[in-house]
Structures are given as structure tokens and as C-alpha cells.
């Protein structure tokens, strides 16, 4: 990649250097070093060894492998955590997509019809984002608690109490709620840009509304879907706030695992090693997810 530098790019470069590159290098540095008893730094792979240590193995539980398929696969504890995180992140992303696409579609139709008008509907989806994520998640806590508002209401009806929290449901709900706008916005912004004449051309050529959607609208909105998936999957994979609150602190996802290595165990080496592994993992997933789109584009360029 060649960067053409001019004076205007300097502040951004400084920013990137200071807040992206340096922290990243620090994490990489800590991942491969530790202090001995005398307080001297030395190179070590102990962090990575801890992560894949077969000392503490558990049955791989993610994706229902243990429960659904009775598959008893013994893996290091962190591998299970990573798999569990992946499961929940993928599931949340999928639900966000299933909920977000129709929402984005309806919103796009709406803003297309009121071209110069209010985007009130879109605002309703965006406004919660102006609030702190911590507050929003606490609000869910108040709602979903065993003696919270919803269970109180269910109790009045003679139902429940239902265990909403501290399980996959609670965490999934928290993630979907928090990240849904990040799915809706990119899809919406690409849908409103699709020229109405393309839809007309499709109908003109004999495609009904369903066919027009599947052959024109949907393929054209794929870039928006891709960036929506990116924007949901990445934070869902790495969050520690949501599983911490809605998982009741017992629920270990990779974000929590890292947080705990730093803040509880004070083991910077293992925490950094985990971070590096997570980083590589997320980058690889992203590469995999965007592969289809890339191929499509490159194919176009090659021919």
C-alpha cells in the first residue's frame, strides 16, 4: 500500500500511530515477555502455552457439540471459550441480519417515499445509540432479573419466573439489542442508493416483486450486508461488557477471559497472548466472510 503523504494526513497518522499501532505493539510485546523473580523482562512463549495448555481440558460445548451431538471432545479451556464466543457472535450476527435486513428495507422504502421529509423511523433506531452501552445493558438487567419488571408481570399472570439472565438467551439478547443499529445502518444506506430505475427495469423485464428482490435488490445490497456483518460480528466476538453484566460474571467469553487475565490474575503475558490469538482469529473470520464479495469483484476486473 502506497500512502501519498501531505500535511493534512499528519494528524491522522499521528492518531493511528499513538492509539492503534503503539498499543498493538505493546500487546504483542507483552505477549512474548514476562518478568522473572528479580523483576527482569525475558522472552517467553509461556502465555501461548497457557492458552493451549492441555492441563485444564473441558468438553467442547459450543455449537451444541456436547449436548446435541453427545460429542465428547476434550479441548483446552480457552479453546472452548473461543468456540463459545464464536458461537454466540455468529448467532447474534445472524439474528441481527434476519431482523436488520427487513427493518432496513422498510426504512429505505419509507425514506424513499418521504424524500425531503423526516427520517423519524430511522431516528428511532439510532437514538438508543446515543446512550451509553453500559446504561442500556443495565436497563436490560432491570427488565430481565428474576424479580425484574418482566418476571413481575409474568408473575401477575401466574407464570414464571423465567430465567432470562446468565444464559445464552440473555447474552444473545443483549448483543442483538446493542448491535442491531450497526446492521441496519449500512444496509439501509446502500438500499436507498439503489436507483429506482433498476427496480423498474426488473419489473419491466417481467420480474414480479419477489423476483425483483432476489435478483436485483438483494445482490445489489450485499456490500451493505457485508459491512453490517462486519460491524456486528467484530464487537460481538470481542465484547466483555455484555457477558459480564447479562452473564452474571460467571459466563466466560473470550472478551471476559482476556479482561480477567489483565484485571484479576494480573497475568499480562497470558492476557496479551489471548488478545493476539483473538485478533488473528477475528481477522481470519473477516477474511473468510468477505471472500465471496472479493471474488465477485476481482472476477469482474479480470474479465
Amino acid at each position: 500500500m502506497r500512502l501519498r503523504l501531505n500535511r493534512l494526513t499528519w494528524p491522522y497518522l499521528a492518531w493511528m500511530l499513538l492509539f492503534t499501532l503503539v498499543p498493538l505493539l505493546l500487546v504483542a510485546f507483552y505477549a512474548f515477555t514476562a518478568y522473572d523473580e528479580s523483576g527482569k523482562l525475558f522472552f517467553t512463549l509461556q502465555g501461548f502455552r497457557n492458552v493451549i495448555s492441555m492441563k485444564d481440558t473441558v468438553a467442547l460445548s459450543a455449537f451444541g457439540l456436547k449436548q446435541l451431538f453427545s460429542l465428547d471432545l476434550q479441548v483446552p479451556i480457552y479453546v472452548n471459550v473461543l468456540a463459545k464466543s464464536l458461537e454466540i457472535a455468529l448467532l447474534s450476527t445472524l439474528i441481527c441480519l434476519l431482523l436488520g435486513y427487513p427493518a432496513a428495507y422498510i426504512l429505505a422504502e419509507h425514506s424513499r417515499r418521504n424524500r425531503n421529509g423526516n427520517n423519524l423511523l430511522l431516528m428511532l433506531f439510532v437514538i438508543p445509540m446515543w446512550m451509553n452501552a453500559l446504561l442500556r445493558t443495565y436497563a436490560w438487567l432491570a427488565l430481565l432479573e428474576p424479580r425484574g419488571i418482566i418476571n413481575n408481570f409474568l408473575g401477575q399472570l401466574g407464570l414464571g419466573p423465567v430465567q432470562f439472565l446468565y444464559n445464552d438467551f440473555g447474552i444473545g439478547l443483549g448483543m442483538v439489542y446493542n448491535y442491531l443499529p450497526f446492521m441496519i445502518l449500512p444496509i439501509h444506506s446502500i438500499l436507498v442508493k439503489i436507483s429506482p430505475s433498476l427496480i423498474e427495469a426488473s419489473e419491466d423485464l417481467g420480474a414480479n416483486r419477489m423476483q425483483t428482490f432476489s435478483r436485483v435488490t438483494m445482490p445489489l445490497s450485499l456490500p451493505g450486508v457485508m459491512s453490517g456483518v462486519n460491524m456486528v460480528f467484530m464487537p460481538a466476538m470481542t465484547t466483555f461488557l455484555i457477558p459480564d453484566l447479562l452473564g452474571g460474571g460467571r459466563y466466560l467469553l473470550i472478551g471476559n477471559a482476556i479482561e480477567r487475565q489483565y484485571m484479576v490474575s494480573r497475568d499480562m503475558t497470558t492476557g496479551s497472548a489471548l488478545s493476539i490469538i483473538l485478533l488473528v482469529f477475528v481477522l481470519a473470520s473477516m477474511k473468510f466472510l468477505t471472500r465471496y464479495e472479493k471474488e465477485n469483484n476481482e472476477g469482474g476486473m479480470l474479465l
Binding site: 426488473s202 419489473e203 417481467g206 420480474a207 435478483r215 436485483v216 445482490p219 445489489l220 469482474g300
Partner: protein, 393 residues
């Protein structure tokens, strides 16, 4: 431009002065594939189509011509099904078209900005309609190849849309429409985005294509030359109303009002008076003409600039002074200031600025039109203005 048309040929399909909005006895005997009856369209408060009625014959090249905002594109979009008429009827081979959704109409559209699918290559763009109709793979391949050949784009099937030039995109758009073998092809200013040379070439190709395919073309344009070059029938529209329907020759030689005269080519439009049959007074003189007396005394007189002959000033001629001479290639374009007004004259004879010349025109070059509220968009001279106002009083 007049070289293109034989002058003064009154054709059988010429619209009568009244009743042309009603169904006319069809002189050519071919059937009406589409018929619009009293179509009205409102956009909010704006009344954009007012009682539009006309018919389209089988295999006809018909052009809706008018300035922007005249309702020509809206008419086309109603035919395609993208807009709903507020009232009126549209019949397609005698059956109600308006109840049919766009995807079930046997019409295809060539869009103004092509509207090619950016996520598909040329082949898939053209095959789109055939795939919807579940044609066999072999059938699709054959017909797409045929269509590509027709628009002279063989070997482009693997190209992506953004790798094409404007002219090529236009051809793909046409191929994408005709590959479905529609009964009627709707074209919405399809050549608007092309440069002049390409536009001229495509005009001829489109006309050839229409003849060889035997498809009815409904063409929308604001370019009067394009309309005259390609069409069998021209419909001139203004502010949601039909001004005139006729063959290009009719429209050019016998404009129904000052708007049509002015919109179709350049013309000298002068206020005149008719007190008797075959006699009209304008420009300070009385001339013999070929038209009988009209209902009103006040009329508009049209003399095409190429019909004016330059002579020595005499009692027979309208005399004036040449104020400007511009060489246009085939002819000179001159402005001649006379006592009453300024004339635009196109002639192969050259006069010099400041020359005293006489203007002469044959009786059948003088076209008489009823006065209308359609005063021309471009008024030639200030003198015209004043006199016209006097007439209106």
C-alpha cells in the same frame, strides 16, 4: 432540414382540425395496438396530463415530442406501468392495460439512463428477462447472441457494465429489451446522453431496427430533429396537452399553432389578419395564400426561414435591410430588419450586411394558423410582441 421532406404533401393520416382526439377512421387499415382515452394524471396538485387521447398503430414508430415537463415521459411511464393514471383508459389490443402490473405487460422499456444492472455482465443483463420466463439454457444463449449481433456487440457478453461506453450501454439496454420480443418497445429519450455523432448513427440504426423487427416503437424525445427523422407519427405535447398529431411532414408544414411551429424548427411567426378567403394581411402588406378564411379575423402566419426568397426590392416584396449574416455550411442564415419586424432567412444566396433586399414567398409557403393562447416560447422580435398584444386586445 426541409430537404428531408417533400414539401406540401398532405397525407391521408393528417389530423383534421377537429375531432382528432377522437378515434379517426384508420386510413392505413392496420390495427391499433394501443389506445389512450382521456388519460389524466396529477402529481399532487399539478395536473401533468390533461385528457390525453391518441392511438398507436401496429408496427408504427410514434414519437412523443415536447419540451421538458410536457408530460411525454409520464405518458410513457403510464404505458409501462410505473405510474398510475388518475382517470382515463388505456387499451392494449382492446383490453384494459391499466389493471395489469408492469411485469405482466407485453411491453419493454429502454430507459433514459439505461438502468443496466451493475451486478451483472452484459450477457446476464440481456438474459434477465428470458431467465425470468424460465427459458432453456440453450434458448437463452441463442437469443442473447442474436440480440448482441443485432446491436453490433458480439464478443461483449462477458464485459461488465461499468466497462462499457455510453453508446455501448445504450446498445445493451436496447438488446435487453428486444430480446424479449415485446409487442411494443418504449424508449424514453434513449439517445439523450450520447454525443451528436453517435446520436445520429443510433437514430438510423433504431429506425432500421424498428423496420426489421416489426415492433411498434413509442419514442419520447425533446429533440424535434430526432422526432422528424425517425417517426411515422409525431405527437407534439406541451404542459400536459397534445398540441398536434401527424406525420413529420404534416407537423412541419402544417403546424396547428404557434407553439408547434416554433418548436418544430425555426420559423417566422407573424400576427396577421384574414378578411377573405385566400387572402391574408401581415407585415404591412396583403398576400395571396392557399387557405380559406378562418373563424376569427386575427391569425398567426408562419413562414419558414428556408422558404423566403431574396430578391431585388420591389412592390412585390417585403423590403428591408440585412443586419446579420452567418454562414451555416449549407446555407447562409440572415436577419433582415423590415418596417414591421425582423425576419430570419435561410438561403444559399448570399447578401451582405447593410444590403437592401426584398423578401418574397410563394402563396403556398404562407401557413395560416388560428390564434391560440400558445404564444411562442421564443418571440422573434419586439415588433411582433407589440402587434400581437394589440391583436389580443
Amino acid at each position: 432540414m426541409n430537404q428531408l421532406f417533400s414539401p406540401k404533401k398532405k397525407t391521408a393520416v393528417s389530423m383534421a382540425d377537429s375531432g382528432w382526439q377522437q378515434q379517426l377512421p384508420d386510413s392505413t387499415g392496420s390495427s391499433h395496438i394501443i389506445e389512450l382515452i382521456g388519460v389524466n394524471k396529477y402529481f399532487g396538485e399539478a395536473h401533468v396530463l390533461r385528457d390525453i387521447s391518441f392511438y398507436i398503430r401496429q408496427n408504427e414508430f410514434i414519437t412523443l415530442l415536447g419540451p421538458s415537463g410536457c408530460g411525454k415521459s409520464t405518458t410513457l411511464r403510464i404505458l409501462a406501468g410505473f405510474e398510475q393514471a388518475n382517470s382515463g383508459q388505456v387499451l392494449f389490443e382492446g383490453r384494459d392495460l391499466l389493471a395489469i402490473p408492469p411485469y405482466e405487460r407485453h411491453l419493454n422499456t429502454v430507459f433514459q439512463r439505461y438502468a443496466l444492472f451493475p451486478h451483472l455482465n452484459v450477457f446476464d443483463n440481456i438474459a434477465f428477462g428470458l431467465r425470468i420466463k424460465k427459458q432453456s439454457r440453450q434458448e437463452i444463449r441463442t437469443r442473447v447472441e442474436q440480440a448482441l449481433k443485432m446491436v453490433d456487440l458480439q464478443g461483449y457478453s462477458e464485459r461488465w457494465v461499468d466497462q462499457l461506453s455510453g453508446g455501448q450501454m445504450q446498445r445493451v439496454a436496447i438488446a435487453r429489451a428486444i430480446v424479449n420480443q415485446p409487442r411494443v418497445l418504449l424508449l424514453d429519450e434513449p439517445l439523450g446522453a450520447l454525443d451528436l455523432k453517435m446520436r445520429k448513427d443510433m437514430q438510423i440504426e433504431l429506425k432500421d431496427m424498428q423496420r426489421s423487427l416489426g415492433i411498434t416503437f413509442v419514442y419520447v424525445t425533446h429533440d424535434q430533429e430526432e422526432a422528424l427523422t425517425m417517426s411515422d407519427t409525431v405527437i407534439v405535447m406541451k404542459t400536459g396537452e397534445i398540441q398536434q398529431i401527424g406525420t413529420p411532414t404534416d407537423i412541419y408544414n402544417e403546424p396547428r399553432n404557434a407553439f408547434v411551429a416554433d418548436f418544430i424548427g425555426e420559423s417566422n411567426i407573424l400576427p396577421g389578419r384574414m378578411t377573405r378567403d385566400f387572402e391574408v394581411s401581415f407585415a404591412g402588406r396583403t398576400f395571396t395564400c392557399v387557405d380559406p378564411r378562418m373563424e376569427n379575423e386575427a391569425v398567426d402566419v408562419v413562414v419558414r426561414p428556408e422558404d423566403v426568397q431574396l430578391r431585388q426590392p420591389s412592390d412585390e416584396t417585403v423590403n428591408g435591410v440585412v443586419t446579420s449574416v452567418v454562414f451555416k455550411g449549407v446555407h447562409y442564415e440572415m436577419l433582415i430588419e423590415t418596417e414591421t419586424c425582423e425576419w430570419l432567412v435561410q438561403s444559399t444566396d448570399r447578401a451582405a450586411e447593410g444590403d437592401h433586399v426584398g423578401l418574397y414567398f410563394d402563396p403556398d409557403e404562407i401557413h395560416i394558423m388560428a390564434k391560440s393562447d400558445q404564444s411562442p416560447d421564443r418571440v422573434r422580435t419586439a415588433g411582433d410582441d407589440v402587434q400581437e398584444q394589440e391583436d389580443d386586445w
